[in-house]
């Protein structure tokens, strides 16, 4: 029994008003589906049913793409950049004004701790809209030549790990550049996207500029393969990314993909250990490890491995797992039964492969989908748990002896999204950064995101960048 026990500190749910059923947001209105059916969405922490949403059918997709096309031709492409910017500023402001409601809704629908959705997700959402609002009337200065043009209608499919943030990463630059969008949120996390539809209405956004279609894989496929879209943007698994790349082959559709990762977090012997431990914890346990750029492979220099692991294990005992709406929760629920099964399976594989498994003592709630933070030591490159993306709070620990070996092991993967480097030596940071085949390198920090900072992968982690000036390119005809 700890001396200092934190009492429950629940964030109130009363600020959120979830309707029993939702339609589709098409042409500026919530409409009933034509050929879509309804399915339930649950709270992963309690398994309670939250609402019923639509799995949009092919005719619904048609309707949405048509609405986006009309809006593009009739309204949005005729507006000045200045005016597009003003709409985006309105959206940003409304997100800020409704931030608590959105944070609570996100935690309920996704399972992530309220502290994360409140302090990380939602503020970044607003910041993304503000940042791109400012570009809308400055595209001449963006380095793509004078008067760059939009592409037209963008089909955007996003994942369940950062639902509203991924929506912002997609919609903000698309609109700033003059495109209209049809966006499909993930099957298990539709609610904040539907709240965003309400925000679009509050902002008086011209009808059809943003359209939201809920649904699962079939809806996404129909949307992406629709002949009426000019651009496809996808964040999700590498497997689906591959399918999309195949499906757009031979068309004129422009594509950006942000896919999976198996990032190496490299800790050298001169790294400040307490800081490195924070970085490791943040790297793989933030957001329950449901992060494409998660530092899921710890590459620690052999000479400090024991000391680091001892400190890491001690640090993990202070992580608090539980009710996502409790303000003191560090680790929330796994997003779905399906994802939990996958994490369990790969963890069993890890044990079978001969790695040693450890978790801090952790009380798991009775209902809901939960997995304790888990560390595998004695892992080799050839183990499945070192190669496959688990997408859960599972860390695989490997060792290395020299910087060259660290680089080799870090790069020895078909993925290339991100990497971490921990050392006090500046020149070594830059040497590593030059050699790591990853789209984002974090040095002495991890999981930092900013609307001004371009994010995206090498190799099978996808192509294209989101954020920053570079993030405009994917939505312009350049």
């Amino acid at each position: 029994m700890p001396t200092f026990e934190y009492a429950p500190a629940p964030e109130s749910r009363s600020i959120v008003d979830i309707q029993p059923s939702y339609g589709l947001y098409i042409g500026g209105e919530m409409v009933e589906p034509i050929d879509g059916t309804r399915f339930k969405t649950v709270n992963p922490a309690t398994e309670e049913v939250l609402s019923e949403v639509v799995a949009a059918g092919p005719q619904d997709v048609d309707r949405a793409v048509d609405a986006a096309r009309s809006a593009y031709d009739g309204t949005w492409s005729r507006l000045s950049g200045r005016d597009r910017g003003k709409y985006l500023y309105r959206l940003a402001r409304l997100v800020q004004e409704r931030s608590r409601e959105l944070a609570v809704l996100e935690s309920i629908d996704n399972g992530k701790p309220i502290r994360e959705s409140r302090d990380v997700d939602v503020p970044l959402v607003a910041a993304h809209f503000f940042y791109y609002a400012g570009w809308a009337d400055k595209l001449d200065y963006a380095g793509f030549g004078p008067d760059p043009r939009a592409l037209g209608v963008a089909a955007q499919v996003i994942p369940w790990n950062f639902p509203l943030l991924m929506l912002a990463w997609k919609i903000a630059p698309a609109l700033a550049c003059g495109n209209t969008v049809v966006l499909k949120p993930a099957e298990t996390t539709p609610l904040t996207a539907l709240a965003f539809a309400d925000i679009c209405q509050q902002a008086d956004l011209p009808p059809g500029v943003v359209n939201i279609l809920t649904g699962a894989g079939d809806t996404g496929r129909a949307l992406v393969e629709h002949p009426g879209v000019d651009k496809v943007a996808f964040t999700g698994s590498t497997e689906v990314g591959r399918q999309i790349a195949r499906s757009v082959a031979g068309t004129r559709k422009k594509v950006t993909l942000e896919l999976g990762g198996k990032a190496a977090n490299v800790v050298f012997d001169d790294a400040p250990l307490d800081q490195a431990i924070e970085g490791i914890v943040n790297g793989i346990f933030f957001n329950q490890g449901h992060v494409c750029c998660a530092g899921s492979r710890l590459l620690v220099q052999e000479s400090v491995a024991d000391e680091l692991l001892a400190g890491l294990k001690r640090r993990l005992t202070t992580l608090r797992l539980g009710d996502p709406l409790d303000k003191n929760t560090d680790i929330g629920a796994i997003n779905s039964a399906e994802q939990l099964a996958k994490i369990r399976l790969l963890s069993e594989v890890g044990e079978t492969e001969g790695a040693e498994r450890w978790s801090p003592p952790c009380e798991l709630p009775g209902r809901g989908f939960w997995f304790p933070p888990t560390v595998f030591t004695g892992v080799s490159q050839s183990h499945r748990i070192a190669r496959e993306e688990i997408f859960g709070p599972v860390l695989s620990v490997l060792t290395f002896r020299t910087p060259a070996e660290a680089v080799e092991k870090a790069n020895n993967t078909p993925y290339g999204l991100s990497a971490g480097v921990w050392t006090e030596k500046g020149s070594r940071i830059l040497w590593m950064a030059q050699r790591l085949r990853a789209g984002v390198v974090w040095a002495n920090t991890f999981n930092r995101f900013d609307p001004t900072s371009p994010f995206g992968g090498y190799k099978e982690s996808g192509y294209g960048r989101e954020g920053g000036r570079h993030g405009l390119e994917g939505y312009l005809d350049v």
């Binding site: 001396t3 009492a7 500190a9 943040n282 003191n328 920090t445």
Partner: protein, 285 residues
């Protein structure tokens, strides 16, 4: 993941209801109630001692503070006022706050306070020597002061505001512990910035690592600039999650403060009565 980021993250912990009540009481018991002014008189010291013994005159369940902290020449007054109470008497010594005096003067200062009845000594390190790189001189002075303190517990004030970097704070912490200090203390309270969450976090990491390596436990005192109960609770969260359970007692963690006590009392009263309190309902000293 820097120190400041970790401290900021820990500061978002929400401590409510029973946890808050526990934390407030613990914080009160950890206060070294302090007066360190040129204008201190025996009258002022007597009033402060009375306050330290019974912080809330309307509520006898309110615990007493850990110690009274004052200049060495006023120790006799405190000894008389606190006799038999269990509240410690911490005297600042070694040419507090600057530490700029010959060593024999600083040691005489220490011995006099102990002879007068102080059972804790708060010394200052020679920051000039530290910043000039004369670490051995700093070390030797602490060893000598520990000897001059006899049975009294020695707290070593690092004056973190003058040390400026976290690396220096960590280095000075280790120096003080290796030299035999019983507590490491952030500040004199006469220099800004005084105690901060990040600096205290660094010091808590140091005492934790020191015990891992040597088996000896050293305490931490955060002094200066902590005025709000909310901040005090944040410090306790940091102690809890960085150093752990073993440091959550007045034997191993202290707050050097004066006005903090009344804010702790106000928050404590709000928990029992359910409404916000006002300063008129608490004694100034």
């Amino acid at each position: 993941m820097g120190v400041e980021a970790r401290a900021a993250a820990l500061a978002t912990r929400s401590i409510k209801t029973t946890a808050k009540a526990f934390a407030l009481d613990l914080a009160i018991r950890m206060v070294d109630l302090t007066t360190l002014e040129g204008q201190d008189t025996p009258g002022k010291v007597r009033a402060l001692c009375a306050k330290g013994l019974r912080p809330d005159p309307t509520d006898p369940s309110c615990p007493a503070v850990a110690a009274i902290c004052l200049y060495g020449d006023l120790v006799p007054t405190a000894v008389e006022a606190l006799e038999g109470s269990g509240v410690h008497i911490a005297a600042v010594a070694t040419a507090f706050p600057s530490g700029r005096a010959p060593l024999d003067v600083k040691l005489a200062d220490t011995k006099a306070a102990v002879a007068a009845g102080a059972d804790e000594i708060d010394m200052v390190i020679d920051r000039g020597a530290f910043l000039a790189g004369r670490y051995l001189d700093v070390y030797d002075e602490i060893v000598a002061t520990k000897q001059a303190s006899g049975d009294a517990h020695l707290k070593v004030i690092l004056e973190t505001g003058e040390l400026a970097t976290y690396d220096n704070v960590r280095r000075a912490s280790w120096l003080a512990m290796l030299a035999g200090g019983d507590f490491i203390k952030t500040s004199t309270g006469k220099v800004s910035p005084a105690a901060t969450l990040p600096v205290t976090l660094v010091m808590l990491e140091a005492v934790r690592d020191f015990r891992d390596q040597t088996g000896r436990q050293v305490g931490v005192k955060a002094a200066g600039g902590i005025r709000a109960a909310k901040d005090a609770v944040r410090y306790l969260v940091v102690v809890n999650e960085v150093a752990g359970d073993d440091w959550l007692s007045p034997d191993w963690f202290r707050f050097g403060a004066s006005s903090l006590l009344n804010d702790l009392l106000m928050q404590r009263q709000k928990l029992t009565t359910g409404h916000y309190a006002g300063p008129d309902y608490f004694t100034l000293d």
